[in-house]
């Protein structure tokens, strides 16, 4: 029987959202026993790799309406507008709170917090700590969390199941990585804050830990996954490794040029090509449009062949060494150390790579999921604020805004219900544990884990890349189904229980295949093009609001393909309109204003 640990709230994941949730719960009710269960030490969580910044309306000339509209139009009207409204209203206070907790935000000469421009945003509203914003936010939250006695951490504990009884979640089953021993962590409310699933794609910006665990945990317990076809390709990543060069490079004035030195974005409805960074135009267009433009340039033979794949150039030379080292020190370091390039002297080769999972566990504006007692926040959640395309700097703000809500809501729920029956949970846990251990008992001589994992990543890139066709998506669906069978037969060379990272990778691969299937089947079902989901097949090339202004839901089906359904999008004030950027965007906005004036 696994060891039983009693808590009130179990938070799965110790990144930005999980830590923020824990602090919020501890502040609301210091008597609660709060557990943060993370498969890595919290400061290793992938929030650490976010570079550019976090959004909050700050300037006097900016407004919540602007942030709302940028986000909703940026998401190609697939956002839940009630969630967006709540989000934009609470970003600023969360940024201030982080400031009070010590986050080293970059400053103006008079000591006020500085803000920078970001893609798809009408005004400068991105708070930043040089180009290590996620790193500083994560360390600030982690270190601040240490002052709360109510927060107990289970570092390097791998959660392999949610424990569900009497129709609500009552805890989690975790493996202590160092010993390989199982632990039942009983809780009256559970928050999932495990981040995205970018590692299901081949070239990606994500850390090795970003394997969709929390999404799969909920999915396996009957919670659908929403809008999983929307995978964000970040346009400026290192060819080969996929490492990220922040959008702040362009916010600070960097430009993208093709092999002829031409600012090709002007050919894709993003012009005019001003020499300065014009908001919501050219290099400050949204990520989906920029990644799509790269795809077209590549087809036209205007990209630069590199060993890690074709590239275009991110040119930062005109910013000068002093500004580069002040605003973009990490970018300089990455370019110098990984590519041998000094960005003050030479352009950086970049290409799109999978970056952010827009879909996830559906939550309402209070972060509640469809399973009572279960909350979700951060990249693992589909909070409804990103729609079909996330704007850069909205996700770091989301961690804080919805992380806090999740912590408070979980605290309230935990105080309103009785704890579960420990014995029943341990029996349930024993079944899952036995299943998880099966991987260790399979005979030697079978296929290697990495072979299945790499084939999955290639299939996802082929079928669910920047542009998609029915034939390729169908092939990816078939491949994934075969890979699931093969994953259940891989042979592990490591038979130890303690620190068996091969075993944990096998469990992660199971999670990844579930999430990948949800993505591919959702993509196939959405017979239109919207935001990051672009199709080349007949009749699917345009946005189709009549049939597809709705969320995709994927339910797991035991031993079969996911079942796809639909859910309405919450529209409050912004009816779907033309999504345009650059000069065309300005014209469209003026038209909207004129219409509003006449109405």
């Amino acid at each position: 029987m696994p060891e039983l640990i009693e808590t009130d709230i179990a938070i799965v994941g110790g990144g930005g959202a999980g830590l923020r949730a824990a602090i919020a719960a501890a502040e609301l009710d210091p008597k609660l026993r709060i557990a943060i269960i993370s498969k890595v030490y919290p400061m290793r969580s992938h929030t650490v790799a976010a570079e550019g910044g976090s959004a909050a309306v700050t300037l006097a000339e900016d407004s919540l309406e602007n942030h709302f509209h940028d986000t909703v139009a940026g998401g190609d009207w697939l956002c839940d507008q009630d969630a967006v409204q709540y989000f934009v209203e609470h970003c600023y206070e969360e940024m201030v709170r982080l400031e009070h907790w010590g986050c080293p935000w970059s400053r103006l000469p008079d000591g006020r917090v500085n803000v920078r421009a970001f893609g798809g945003m009408k005004m400068e509203r991105t708070w930043f700590a040089a180009d290590m914003t996620g790193f500083h936010m994560l360390h600030t939250l982690f270190q601040t969390s240490m002052k709360y006695a109510a927060i107990r951490r289970f570092d390097e504990h791998f959660v392999c199941d949610l424990l569900v009884d009497e129709g609500r979640v009552k805890g989690v089953l975790a493996i202590e990585v160092a010993s390989g021993e199982f632990r039942v962590i009983k809780a009256r409310a559970v928050v999932i804050a495990t981040g995205g699933a970018g590692r299901v794609f081949r070239q990606n910006t994500n850390g090795g830990i970003v394997t969709g665990d929390g999404m799969a945990l909920a999915y396996r317990r009957g919670v659908p996954l929403r809008d999983m076809e929307f995978m964000q390709y970040h346009p400026t990543c290192m060819p080969g490794s996929g490492l990220l060069f922040t959008e702040a490079c362009r916010g600070e004035g960097g430009v993208l040029v093709n092999k002829d030195g031409y600012r090709y974005l002007q050919d894709y409805g993003l012009g005019p090509p001003d020499p300065w960074p014009r908001k919501k135009a050219m290099e400050l267009g949204p990520r989906d449009r920029l990644s799509q433009a790269f795809w077209h340039e590549q087809r036209k033979g205007r990209t630069i062949p590199m060993p890690g794949g074709d590239a275009v150039h991110l040119d930062l030379r005109h910013l000068g060494r002093a500004k580069l080292h002040e605003r973009l020190p990490q970018i300089c370091e990455l370019a110098e150390q990984f590519l041998g390039i000094d960005p003050a002297q030479a352009p950086i080769p970049v290409r799109p790579a999978a970056h952010y999972t827009m879909g996830g566990i559906p939550t309402d504006v209070r972060t509640a999921t469809s399973l009572p007692g279960l909350y979700a926040a951060g990249e693992c959640a589909s909070s409804g604020i990103h729609g079909a395309n996330r704007l850069g700097s909205n996700s770091l703000a989301e961690l804080c805004v919805f992380g806090r809500v999740a912590g408070e809501e979980a605290a309230r729920f935990a105080s309103s219900v009785q704890g579960g029956n420990g014995v029943a949970l341990r029996w349930q846990a024993q079944d899952t544990a036995r299943e998880a251990l099966r991987a260790l008992e399979r005979p030697a001589g079978g296929e290697r884990l990495a072979a299945v994992r790499d084939e999955m990543a290639k299939a996802m890139e082929r079928g669910c890349g920047i542009y998609r066709t029915a034939a390729e998506m169908e092939e990816t669906c078939r491949t994934l189904s075969e890979l699931k069978a093969r994953a259940n037969a891989v042979s592990l060379t490591d038979r130890a229980r303690g620190w068996n990272t091969e075993w944990l990778a096998a469990l992660e691969l199971g999670f990844q295949l579930d999430v990948a299937e949800a993505m591919a089947h959702s993509a196939l079902a959405r017979r239109e093009s919207r935001g990051a989901h672009q199709r080349l097949d007949e009749g699917c090339g345009e946005r189709d609001d009549a049939n597809f202004l709705k969320h995709t839901l994927a339910w797991r089906v035991h031993a079969g393909s996911p079942r796809i359904g639909w859910a309405p999008v919450v529209i409050t004030t912004s009816q779907p309109g033309t999504r345009a950027y650059g000069a065309a965007g300005e014209a469209a906005q003026n038209e909207r204003k004129a219409d509003a004036a006449h109405a």
């Binding site: 400061m43 650490v48 709170r97 008079d110 000591g111 850390g207 091969e502």
Partner: protein, 250 residues
Amino acid sequence: MPDSFHPSEVTIEVLRYDPADAGGPRTQSWSVPYTPDMSVLQALQYVKDHLDGSLTFRWSCRMAICGSCGVMVNGVPHLGCRTFVRDFLPGPVRVEALAHFPIERDLVVDAEDFIEKLREIHPWIQPKVARLIEEGPYRQTPEELARYESFSHCINCMLCYAACPQYGLDPKFLGPGLTALAHRYNSDSRDGAKDERMELLHSEEGVWSCTAVGYCSEVCPKQVDPANAVNQNKTASALDWFARFLPGRS
């Protein structure tokens, strides 16, 4: 090595340790395909994926910011992800767990001592003047920010602990990285808990244990310069000690 030297394979040698193995630590070598952009981490990943799935190490971000993959490479503490095999040609490249920490398995060390000490320095702002959210952010000029900013870059990779001879001799020593981090909070214009933290820094396990070798700053992948933080605190600690004998201060 001349730039043109491109072997097709390179030997990776790892000091392996499995607590269940009564034979104790042993060295194992593998030959992996070489490419000029291959990091030490990628070499380890190649072994794990294709040659021996039981090789155990921590890693995540691949871009020198998460701090997971600190190892000794040919005897020197490095982040595996941003240390390149090309710099160790013709090999072999010898990889071992970070020095001065107990080994849990292969390249994985026990980090609990570091994490526990991190909490002991109280790494959070204890405001000089408490402020409500409605009052907005504190003002902090770029000059005030510059006083602590570089010390806030510590990614907790623990390379400086593996480099620190004093930590190797006396694990009670607070050590370079956490002294830098304590200094980061002490130097922050928003914080008012310097006196409390200085007590820890004064103590036997604080800055005075440092023998000023400076190797910590040399191996730091983020130019945090913990040696500088330690020395500034020796000065501060000494001044505080003398200040006790001045009138008006008890």
